[in-house]
Subunit: 476 residues, 2 copies
Amino acid sequence: MKNEISIADLYKIQPIGREITISGWVRTFRSNRFIALNDGSTAANFQCVVDFEKFEDSLLKRITTGSCVRVKGIVTKSLGKGQPIELQVQTIEILGDSDAEKYPLQPKKHSLEFLREIAHLRPRTTTFGAIFRIRHHLAFAIHEYFNKNGFFYIHSPIITASDAEGAGEMFNVSVLDKRNIPLTENGEVDYSKDFFGKEANLTVSGQLEAELLAMGLGKVYTFGPTFRAENSNTARHLAEFWMIEPEMAFYELKDNMDLAEDFLKYIIKYALTHAADDLAILDQRLAEEEKSKPADQRSMPLLEKLKFVTENAFQRITYTEAIDILLQSPYHKKKKFQFPVEWGIDLQSEHERYLVEKHFNSPVIITDYPAAIKAFYMRLNDDGKTVRAMDILVPGIGEIVGGSQREERYDVLLSKIRQFGISEESLWWYLDTRRFGTCPHSGFGLGFERLVQFVTGMSNIRDVIPFPRTPGNCEF
Amino acid sequence: MKNEISIADLYKIQPIGREITISGWVRTFRSNRFIALNDGSTAANFQCVVDFEKFEDSLLKRITTGSCVRVKGIVTKSLGKGQPIELQVQTIEILGDSDAEKYPLQPKKHSLEFLREIAHLRPRTTTFGAIFRIRHHLAFAIHEYFNKNGFFYIHSPIITASDAEGAGEMFNVSVLDKRNIPLTENGEVDYSKDFFGKEANLTVSGQLEAELLAMGLGKVYTFGPTFRAENSNTARHLAEFWMIEPEMAFYELKDNMDLAEDFLKYIIKYALTHAADDLAILDQRLAEEEKSKPADQRSMPLLEKLKFVTENAFQRITYTEAIDILLQSPYHKKKKFQFPVEWGIDLQSEHERYLVEKHFNSPVIITDYPAAIKAFYMRLNDDGKTVRAMDILVPGIGEIVGGSQREERYDVLLSKIRQFGISEESLWWYLDTRRFGTCPHSGFGLGFERLVQFVTGMSNIRDVIPFPRTPGNCEF
């Protein structure tokens, strides 16, 4: 019932001597005497002490791992070491049984792979409870940061007829009967018969629409799902993931970098403050996992890494400087890089890792990439060959933020659109913003799951979103 | 640039005597002397006073409606009546021209229909600036409310192989080549060849997945896009809209109603406090619009209506009582209802309006609907014929919230699933929650655009979302 107290509040208030009622799920029932109860409000279980002589055996037998119970009793100081307070149980009501033989979550360590198969139950585990609560705190910190700083949250469309990146494999959205697809005289699919009267896809980015809003509201941000129909079965890719995309009128590239750095530090600090208990659990989990690695391959402990990021300035270098560092590196000289290094290449993850983890040992912002390897909407520098792009790389994850100052000059933008082979008719509204009251503006995209991975230390992206969508996987 | 002050802050701080720089878009340029500048941070323009003798004619001519300028000058008290402070301009930089002949937004009243066609530019108008800022404040208030009250924000999947409502027209999501659809031996579409290896659609609700999380985390909520492929070209329907769906373990129907009422009042109060200026603009707009109606058909002024809702208890009646009220009503006796009234019917919008606007003149919560007209997952009452549903109806909008206590009993749920002809194999994970540690729980859904309509007084739902998706309309 709503008026019951949560375990999180119980630990805060510590109402010793008071009679209370709590509900939750049994994690363990030890010696027919100690129920470790969890209600999801916090990682910590609450110890409920049962005098087994006062209860029927038939009831005690139903207190199994996974069962749901409501208990009433008196809060007392705990004599045990594990907790400050506990409950002396007076009444027990079984709300939901859990057959100990059949319940998949036994009180033992399960593999992450196994838990992924029962993603509907994994929020009941200590690890995933912690991950999803941290995910919440990060999301809230993002909204709080932007709200405090005068940004407006906007919803860019999910179904779209445009393709922001001029590339990217997209999911088609349709109501056409697949057994009877209408065709035009030329044998093309006749999308005029479809729901929207034209071909429609799931968005890969809300940026272009966010720019439209920034030209009216000044500073805006999106926080919504985006999609990639890439057949990538890796620990870094999801077909459906959440992105945060701020877009600011009158911001130039440096303002954009300053914002992104301040923003990342704010939300990580917020998590350190508001999710300390859950982070401690994941810090411990990661330390256990790292033990199996050779000492020189272990990563920085989780909490240490997060504090390091909030307390140190991000390194800022140009792409050209990055290439120079790589060319001068002992790695390059010893031919340890698998991919070639030369000006013009798209940095590979081995290059990014070298810069972040070996050379700087810190988050790095790389700017001014070659125009040819970046999107059409990035502002061309006066050198005519680089654009005002910025990528932020962090240890263990690689690119976490990608952004740029946008090309605000109509003629330059139009020639870029043509050069990239994008249909200018389909972007008439985007071009309009450069025809009427254009201004310098910038923005970036943060992959939310990459951020959650970075903060939780989870190495597989499928473990930081409740129900991951990947090739061949759309369960739940 | 980032370090420029926003107009919103300028009005707050009123730094008289200080030299400042601001950037924004010209709303009007009066008598070659007064620029009304807007930067989107607030509805209010900022008056910039230009001594035309100090500037070249060629520059003054470029200060047109829609152009983007950066001005530097000294803040002074304003001698005019419209504003407390103004800027004595020293320098003017044109950031972006706007050809007065071609710019679609002239400084005059445009119809909402026309503005919908230029949805990429309408955020630059006073009305839509206000609407989208209010939309932001409502969204933030929602996150703040839940965060304060111990709820965790979760992301339920957008692409799904399940159909929560057991009905609803859905958009199919696919990467299959439509000119070459693979078929099985039986002539069915062979979805095993598709991206997810099975048929996948856009979600109509995140509720079932939210329930899974609530069984681990206790109290959760979603705030994400949902979809309906209904061919409804009305002022009340969108193909893509945003929903908020809280789901709470241990909440029964009454707790659910208490939460929904408290929640709605909180977010409306938040808007009244944090978006007072923008609401005043829309209050005025609605009053103008209402003038064209006969006096007895005018609705309550916007601000009055919002305050009324926050200050009065919602009426709570059962469906059976609602039917009795309708049967006893003079409307029914005079045969003014178009649709028949009898126990078992789905209430029509004319019935809802009568209850809310004529009989109670207040928001109304109707509970305990006939099982046959509600979804399979709603908890069956002991009478065997009604379910613990609740709908909240508000003046002018009708249903804004729909919720229920969920059926937590495995056997009852299974028989309902079979009765509704839903595949129980596809819901194995949902049924699992009732097999392992089930508990009473409840939740509801709030249509975000309906809420924004209610708070802004906009009568067409296409005017409260930046880029509406409707049949035949997927522009921008």
